[in-house]
Amino acid sequence: MKHIINALVENKPGVLAHVAGMFAARSFNIDSLVVGRTEDPKLSRMTIVVIGDDRVVEQVRKQLAKIVPVVKVQDYAGQPVVARDLMLISVAAPPEKRPEIFSLIEMFRGRVVDIGQKSIMIEVSGPESKIEGFIDVCRPYGIKSLARTGTIAMPRRNKAE
């Protein structure tokens, strides 16, 4: 099962290496890992998607929390979250195919960010399943290249709020 784990870490050199090294040393599988700044310049947020059973993920969570510059660890499993990936995808697009590609882009609420003579670059964001879906529909036209971020996520607000 996939778990989205969120770690707030000190914005210091070596922290990413420490986290990545711990995953490798303990044979935990990372599906994706994203690091970025937060509202606090002293802290970064790591969003790590891990595949494993509950026992493995519990160990991942504990081992992460044990790393000194890791300030806080949360497992989002079982709670409503907004999870998003971002993708840039370059698709072969001869002029005659462009109208249908554009309509697909619209359906997936993507954006054209660059147009060349033979291809176009599209930006799509959303849940992982949507990204995968868009890749599938692009495949018949010919994917030149693609780049994806991993997942970032935040819990939805409590209903009580």
Binding site: V9, E10, K12, P13, G14, A17, H18, G21, M22, A25, R55, E58, Q59, K62, Q63, A65, K66, I67, V68, P69, V70, V71, K72
Partner: protein, 580 residues
């Protein structure tokens, strides 16, 4: 969560005047302020500024012959004294030579601070002379490490290193020091730097409800076993453990690292459990209806086959490291916190229960399968040498070991009665630990009787530290149980590889001559009849002394739980039975 207290103990001195100091002086002053009086270290290019400040510092400075030895010395110094061991090395090869020592300390949760020199900040990453990515190399074998890139952070980072190393589940911390930081000047106000560790939280106080549940489980248990590890020693909780065992009427088994935490001469002791543990401890664990683990981590050498480990037992696990809980074995009642604090609470709730039946059963196993060896053997049996040492020292010596058969016999045939009495590389199993560890333990307590029970090939790995012991007039005793083989490897080859003794037999030097050449006392013992006298002569020495016991070559350690088998599937019981 409890807020941790700062290591930066002394209060601000309002009248202190600021003075300009170089980084190297800041380091030495901070060490002294933190109470460090002993440092192990080996010099080199980029630590010259730092070593210059040690020239006239009020610190007992011990230079090993190799950085690995120094690291083991600092480690054993910490294990013996409970204080933080400090090791300093230069950049590149010096730092690389620390890796084995750091990993050893990491696996056994030993508080240590390693300071390493580094090339000048602007050269880092340029493959400079004697440059190595020290923080990168040592990250997996330290609890924490860091590199000082700004002189303003230096004092704080040194203080943080000591705080992290010595609190929670202790471990080695490394601080990498570029040489330009050592020479840079900084204004010091005299007020200790404040720690800045937002991610470092320790839970010492156990959850009250969990402690109640643990107490209830203990009070209801018919066949409980206390399974105790090195955490009890680290936490200085031996007295509380003893009270719990007595008040609750509970039998106690110890891990290798736990030896010394409970007086093994007491009736309630089941001695060590695990692969080479006692049959009675292993049977008791397999039959137990409640296992109360304190400061132990369910290592594979303890549990054997995990799926059949303690199959009838509910598990209580008391540990300061939340990540140790339910890592290998499912825990029913976890209690996260400091052993001493939790046991103190637990004692209040545990009631004395009559467990006559359970203790009677244990007594039967004890009677049937004690640790034993053949007293009629003509040659010198290694177990006999240890047994004699035990008698001649009245069980009071501090025992240090290398790794292998001799280590297991030292655990089986010497019985320990006080914490920090047994010092051995348990988790990493580092051959060569013995001699430098004996030096470290002796320096921690110069009056103590420190005996290194060593194997010939373990001793070979670090014997160049003998001159270090001679130089400092340390009265350490080294007993080499010399069988010519890497004994434990040979045992496995005998049992599992059809006696094909592949590369496990090496030519040894004449250790008595080696010892003499290095300025120590050397003896060789070839006859069984000479063993008692040799041990007496050895114990009377005031200089380092090495005794080479030529022991029976192909003796095995029994009982043995073969890898992957359950604890009750021990080999060698028939041999032990025949011996009594």
């Amino acid at each position: 969560m409890k807020k941790i207290s700062s290591h930066a103990a002394p209060a601000a001195k309002p009248d202190a005047k600021s003075v300009l100091k170089p980084g190297a002086q800041v380091i030495v002053d901070t060490l002294i302020d933190l109470g460090v009086d002993t440092v192990f270290g080996y010099t080199g290019g980029v630590v010259l500024p730092l070593f210059d400040k040690f020239y006239d510092a009020p610190i007992n400075f011990i230079v090993p012959r190799h950085e690995q030895g120094g690291c083991h010395m600092a480690d054993a110094y910490a294990r013996a004294s409970g204080k933080v061991g400090v090791m300093i090395a230069t950049s590149g090869p010096g730092a690389c030579n620390l890796v084995t020592g750091l990993a050893t300390a990491m696996m056994d949760s030993v508080p240590m601070v390693a300071l390493t020199g580094q090339v000048r900040t602007e050269l880092i990453g340029n493959d400079a002379f004697q440059e190595a990515d020290t923080t990168g190399i040592t990250r997996p074998v330290t609890k924490y490490n860091c590199i000082v890139k700004d002189i303003k952070d230096l004092e704080r980072m040194i203080r943080e290193a000591f705080h992290i190393a010595s609190t929670g589940r202790p471990g080695p911390v490394l601080v990498d020091l570029p040489v330009d930081i050592e020479v840079a000047q900084i204004e010091m106000t005299g007020n200790p730097a404040k720690l800045d560790l937002p991610g470092y939280k320790i839970r010492t106080k156990g959850h009250a409800r969990q402690i109640e549940m643990a107490a209830q489980a203990i009070n209801e248990a018919k066949r409980p076993v206390l399974y105790v590890g090195g955490g009890v020693i680290i936490s200085n909780a031996s007295e509380e453990l003893c009270t719990l065992a007595r008040n609750g009427n509970l039998p106690v088994t110890l891990t290798l690292m736990g030896l010394g935490s409970f007086d093994q001469t007491q009736d309630k002791s089941l001695d060590m459990l695990g692969m080479h543990g006692s049959a009675y401890a292993n049977y008791a664990v397999q039959e137990a209806d409640l296992l109360i683990s304190v400061g132990a981590r369910f290592d594979d050498r303890v549990t054997g086959n995990l799926s059949t480990f303690a199959p009838k037992a509910k598990v209580v696990h008391i540990d300061i490291d939340p990540a140790s809980i339910s890592k290998n074995v499912h825990v029913d009642i976890p209690v996260v916190g400091d052993a001493k604090v939790i046991l103190t609470e637990l004692i209040k709730l545990v009631k004395h229960q009559d467990r006559t039946e359970w203790f009677a059963r244990i007594a039967q196993w004890k009677e049937k399968y004690p640790f034993a060896y053949n007293h009629d053997e003509q040659g010198i049996l290694p177990q006999y040498v240890i047994d004699e040492l035990y008698k001649k020292t009245q069980g009071q010596a501090t025992i240090v070991t290398g790794v292998g058969q001799h280590q297991m016999w030292a655990a089986q045939f010497y019985r320990y009665s006080r914490p920090r009495q047994f010092i051995s590389s348990g988790g990493l199993g580092t051959m060569g630990f013995g001699l430098p560890a004996a030096i470290g333990a002796q320096i921690a307590d110069p009056k103590d009787l420190v005996v290194d029970i060593d194997g010939d090939h373990s001793f070979n790995m670090t014997l160049m530290e003998l001159p270090t012991a001679v130089e400092h007039n340390l009265p350490i005793k080294v007993m080499i149980l010399n069988n010519g083989y890497m004994g434990m490897v040979r045992q496995w080859q005998e049992l599992f590889y059809g006696k094909r003794y592949s590369k496990s037999y090496l030519k040894n030097p004449d250790y008595a001559k080696v010892a003499e050449a290095m300025g120590a006392v050397g003896m060789t013992v070839q006859n069984k009849a000479d063993v008692p006298q040799a041990i007496e002569t050895m114990l009377a020495q005031t200089n380092p002394c090495v005794v080479d016991f030529r022991v029976v070559a192909e003796e095995n350690v029994w009982p043995m739980v073969p890898a992957g088998k359950s604890l009750n599937e021990m080999d060698g019981l028939n041999i032990l039975e025949r011996l009594i």
